[in-house]
Symmetry: C2
C-alpha cells in the first residue's frame, strides 16, 4: 500500500514527536493534532487508515507507535524535507527563517532524483539548517545527543546542536545573535527561578529568557561531531 501525501505527513510528524521524547515510544493523538494544526477527530480517523495500511499500531486512548513500514515512510519524508531545506539555504541562499513552508510543500513533491541532486549540491549535509539530523537514503536516522540550554551546567562551553522552533521571528532573532547550529559559545550564568541566561557568543554577551533558551539544544563539541 502506498501512502498519500497526507498520510506521509502524519507519519513524519509522529516520528518527529517520538524522536523528541526518547523515553516514551507512544505518541498521543492530541500531540499530532496540535502539530498538524488539525482537529482531534481528523487525527483519530487518519490513524485508523494508517493502521489499516500497516503503518502503525494503535492502542486506543493511549497512543500510536509506527511500524517498520511506517518509519520507512516517515524517514523518507523527513529526509526529503530536510534536504530541501538545506538546499534552499545553502544553494539558493535563503535564510532559515524563510524556507520552512516551501520546504514543507516541496518535500511532498520532489522525486528521489531531485533529492539526490540537492543532497549532492548541498555537499551531503548531515543536518538540516535547524540542526536536525538528516536520515540516510537507506532510512537510518542518527540519534543526536544534546540537551536543552535551559538545563545544562553553567560556566561551560557548548555548541548549538538544534534550534527547536519554526517561529520565523525567533529564528531570525537567533540568526542575528549568531546562534545557529554548530556555533560555539560560553554559558556564563543562569539566574534562578526560570530567570534569564547569559551567553558569550563571538566575544559578545547576550541574554536569553528561560523559555527561549529551552528551544535551543546544546552539546559538547565532541558530541556535536558525532553526527
Amino acid at each position: 500500500m502506498t501512502a498519500t501525501d497526507s498520510m506521509q505527513e502524519y507519519l513524519a510528524e509522529a516520528f518527529r514527536i517520538a524522536y523528541y521524547q526518547p523515553d516514551n515510544p507512544y505518541v498521543s493523538t492530541s500531540s499530532l493534532a496540535e502539530e498538524m494544526q488539525v482537529s482531534a477527530p481528523a487525527v483519530t480517523r487518519m490513524v485508523q487508515r494508517l493502521k489499516n495500511a500497516g503503518f502503525l499500531q494503535h492502542a486506543p486512548y493511549r497512543g500510536i507507535r509506527l511500524t517498520e513500514a511506517g518509519e520507512r515512510e516517515a524517514l523518507a519524508n523527513i529526509r526529503r524535507h530536510r534536504l530541501v531545506e538545506r538546499f534552499l539555504v545553502d544553494v539558493m541562499g535563503f535564510g532559515w527563517h524563510e524556507v520552512h513552508d516551501d520546504a514543507d510543500d516541496m518535500g511532498l513533491v520532489v522525486s528521489d532524483m531531485l533529492v539526490d541532486k540537492m543532497d549532492e549540491m548541498s555537499g551531503f549535509p548531515k543536518r538540516c539548517p535547524h540542526g536536525e539530523p538528516i536520515p540516510s537514503a537507506d532510512g537510518l536516522m542518527p540519534r543526536v545527543i544534546d540537551y536543552p540550554l535551559s538545563e545544562v551546567a553553567v560556566e561551560r562551553d557548548y555548541v548549538i546542536s538544534r534550534v527547536h522552533t519554526h517561529d520565523s521571528h525567533k529564528l531570525r532573532y537567533f540568526s542575528e545573535l549568531n546562534l545557529e547550529p554548530g556555533k560555539r559559545f560560553h554559558l556564563v550564568m543562569r539566574a534562578p527561578f526560570k530567570g534569564p541566561l547569559q551567553l558569550q557568543v563571538d566575544g559578545q554577551t547576550h541574554f536569553l529568557g528561560h523559555e527561549l533558551a529551552g528551544t535551543l539544544r546544546v552539546c559538547s563539541e565532541e558530541e556535536y561531531q558525532l553526527v
Copy 2:
C-alpha cells in the same frame, strides 16, 4: 476566490490549448479532458466550479474561454512551471527530458519568493527548455512566431523555436541530434506525401519523419530573437 491547485492546472492547460490555436478562442472540454488525462464529466464539473469562481465563461456544448482573472491564474501557474523547468535544467543540470513531472508538481507548490530566485539564478530566461515563452511576473505572455517544421519552405535556414512534446524519448532523441530551442539548422529537403525531411545541423545530416517534424516549430533567426 482563490483557486485550488487543481483549478490552477485546468486554467493553465486551457490557456496552453488556446495559445496553440490562435484562431479560435474557445477551448473544448474534450481537449481539456485529453490533456489532463481525465474523464469528460470531470472537466464539465470543474468548468462549472471555475465559472462560478469567475475564472471562465462557458457556452454549453461549445466550449470555454478564460476571463481576465482566469488568465491571471493560468499565467501565474505557467510562469512557475516554466521557470522551475528552466531552473532544473540550467542550474541543477538535469536534461530536459527528465524534468517535466517534477516541474509539474513543483509548479503548484513553490512560492513567489522561490520562483523569483529561480528566475534570477537561471539568468531571467525568456523561454522554458522546450522553447515555450515564460510569462512575465506581471502576467504578460509573449506571442511567439513560429511554424511547424513539417510545413515551412525547404532550402532555407531556420532556428528551432519550440519542441511541442512531452514524450521523454522524443525529447532525448532531439537532444542527441542537437535539435534544441535556439539551434540553427538548414532544411535541405522534404519528400512528398508526408515523407521524411532532411536537415543539416552542425554540419551533420539528419532525417526526420513527417510526424516527428511536426512537433518541432521553427522560425527565422530574427523572429526567434523577438522573444
